[in-house]
Symmetry: C2
Subunit: 79 residues, 2 copies
Amino acid sequence: MKARVFVTLKNGVLDPQGEAIRHALGTLGFAGVEGVRQGKVIDLDLVETDPARAEAAAAEMCEKLLVNTIIENYRVEIL
Amino acid sequence: MKARVFVTLKNGVLDPQGEAIRHALGTLGFAGVEGVRQGKVIDLDLVETDPARAEAAAAEMCEKLLVNTIIENYRVEIL
């Protein structure tokens, strides 16, 4: 079973990488870009076949390793 | 208008970061993780209000800056 985890910075947390992209887009002539935020997507290939248990396992992985819950939000999607 | 870009490594491209995560999950006692791939998600806040034009602009940004199309795939989603 495949699970996809989205990790994004919480609102208010400074995102220097996103700012760098925004600046670079401006330099390349892309007008009208008001803001850029960069996050991570992690695709997990799990042996578990029960969707609910797979989602719970992925959420536990997020809490214990994948996500810094002080500054990041996450969302788990079962594919 | 908000656009979300998913950038993932193409199949067959080595993903050391994903491998590191897989190894770390094993060390933490998470069994049953067969594979991990890490990608990026980039949220763009665009002035453009027409969904089709916003999508086209985001795709152009991908081709010119955000994505290394030799080793990465991308998908644009208009939110």
